[in-house]
């Protein structure tokens, strides 16, 4: 029974996304692009300078090099995850021949994670807008959980680098920029993957909650009127 209910909810999510695919795609791409624009804006505001260099990296070639030269396949994913595609940053030329002070790094692995986040968030937004979805209170709670989940993932997917954090992109740069103490930020750093996983879980659960039957519909399904059909695509269940 429980499996059936869960399956129905997945179907509802699928139906909602399917019937609003254009809107879902627009939201997914928009949220992803918006996220990186927001990161760039945060860097520009924090450091008070526009990026003055951009570097493109041959990501496929880098991945191929890593695969060819890493004997154990289990070592490959974490190394590939650190590979850049693009880097926008600010080079300080006051000393020496220049130091990259900060940068926004586009790492394909992180972009994929962001697209998943954006896709889930977009699905949740569409579900929230469905007139016949779950009760208002549930909507509010699920919406809040969605926001919290998105926040966790967005925070831990930040790929900004700052030379003070040893110039490698790490999500705690965002925390440091917000003024969190250095030691505390480094203490929190190992929790990143867990926070990220919790964020995805919250988003996925919110989607399933939002895909649940509405109170009206539940009542209807408990007392089916003669000759009335319930439709899966409306989020109700036979």
């Amino acid at each position: 029974m429980m499996t059936l209910a869960l399956k129905a909810r997945f179907q509802t999510v699928g139906t909602t996304v399917g019937s609003n695919f254009g809107r879902w795609l627009f939201l997914t791409v928009g949220i992803t692009v918006g996220y990186y624009l927001l990161l760039m804006a945060a860097l520009v505001v924090k450091f008070g300078s526009l990026p003055n260099y951009v570097t493109a990296y041959n990501w496929p070639a880098s991945v191929w090099t890593i695969i060819r030269s890493t004997p154990s396949f289990s070592d490959v994913p974490p190394i590939v995850a650190e590979e850049y595609l693009l880097e926008f940053g600010y080079m300080n030329y006051d000393y020496g021949h220049g130091i990259s002070e900060w940068a926004l790094n586009i790492l394909p692995y992180k972009v994929i994670l962001m697209v998943i986040l954006a896709g889930l968030l977009a699905a949740n937004l569409l579900l929230l807008r469905q007139p016949n979805s779950c009760a208002a209170g549930t909507k509010l709670r699920a919406g809040a959980a969605s926001g919290l989940g998105a926040g966790f993932v967005a925070l831990t997917s930040a790929t900004m680098s700052w030379v003070v954090c040893c110039a490698t992109p790490t999500w705690i740069v965002g925390l440091s920029m917000l003024g969190l103490g250095t030691s505390t930020a480094f203490w929190i750093e190992p929790a990143g993957p867990w926070l990220s996983a919790a964020g995805y879980l919250l988003l996925a659960l919110s989607a399933l909650v939002l895909a649940g039957p509405s109170e009206t519909r539940t009542a209807v399904s408990e007392k089916p009127a003669a000759g009335r059909k319930t439709l899966s695509r409306n989020g109700a269940h036979a």
Binding site: S72, N92, G96, E101, V163, C166, T168, W187
Partner: protein
Amino acid sequence: MKHTTLGLGLGVALTIALPTMPALAKTIDIAIGHQSMCTDTYTAGIVVKEKKLLEKFLPKDGAYADVDYNITWSDYSSGGPITNQMLANKLNIGVMGDYPLIVNGAKFQETDSLRTLYVAGTGYNLKGSGNAVVVPVDSDIYSLDQLKGKSVSTPVGSAAWGMLLKAMQDTGITEDVSLKNQNPAVGAANIAAGKIDAHSDFCPWSEIMEFRGTGRKIYDGSEAGVPYLHGVVVRQDFAEEYPEIVVAFLKAVIEAGEWIEENPSEAVDLMEKWTGVEKEVLYIYFSNGGHLTLDPTIKDKWIEALKFDHTVLVKEKAIPPLDFGEWITEDYVKAAYSDLGMDYEADKAEIIDPETANAGLPVEIWHARDGILKYGTVPEFLKAVAEFQGTGAKLNATYVYDKSTGLKLFGKTAYFVQGEDGTYETFLRKPDAEAYAAEVNGHVIDLPTAVAAFIPSE
């Protein structure tokens, strides 16, 4: 029959032609990551690159007879990205400071199949000079304990950060200081603008601030007493496949060091062009009596220092364990010494302590036209400065030595103590100068005041 004849003919032709055809040359990629804004890496970085010393020593016979080398150099502002690029096998060799070296070794050992080897040092300062804490030049802070309740910035994860942590622990002010994460360039700019109470940084940032007249050292790394060193790491798979290339690289490192020691003025002049760091700042590192002892040997004391640094990193950044026995090898540097006919054990046994090694060294004036001028005593030096000032001659910099540690200092940032008997001593830190002044019934003065006494009267 016709086909058999054709086949035979082709076979004979190939048999005759093949040995005379040029073999397809193999290309070996050698990718090196270095740091042009970190002086202690220069002998394995910018100098080897610009003087093409690696090319000079690369093997060209035997198995390498038909090899083409594709050497690429990548410049980074810290060691962290070098390690990431080495993990991705886009760099084979990396040169970095002690803390990033440890992170490099530990991150590789964390993987199942990849390792690096720590194959040689580049240079060191026995007491830890190179790292320092600097305050704005007009600040009323003169010692570390005065930083209680103040904000101090540092590039976290760097050697300067490690030194600062130890220094604060030693002084008992860890809980009373607000530690900020800041990069060297912004830290230096904040010091210039007086936006931060103090900034701790690695070589050569403190001296850049002093030379530009924006900052003043209140604490030198030598006070922490932990050696400050840099070194070379190589991917183990690369080292095992091409051991001769690693040895060639280390021969280049040795020759780079010798060239600097023999030609410090020329070397700093060229290094300024290569790196953009002022030659007067570089001179404080690379001249006779300078902060850096160029020595690629791996001393037991360095291993102890690296182990200590690892404990700091484990505590502060939770980095993975590091098996030092597996990571450190002297084989390659010993082979390089042997090929060059040099005595590795003799160099390994020698440890330069600036306090004794620099005792009695002449103080110096860098005359813009005449170059480096040396003076046996401080009064002779002060008299010469006074005379040059009288003629309007341009002096690029002046150099004296700290009586307490033997460290080379810019004359303009030193504290001069004139004793009751008219003798002069110079100091890095004001508290040391004041203590000595009390001891000899003297008084503490700055360079302009000291020089004023030697200006010829009308």
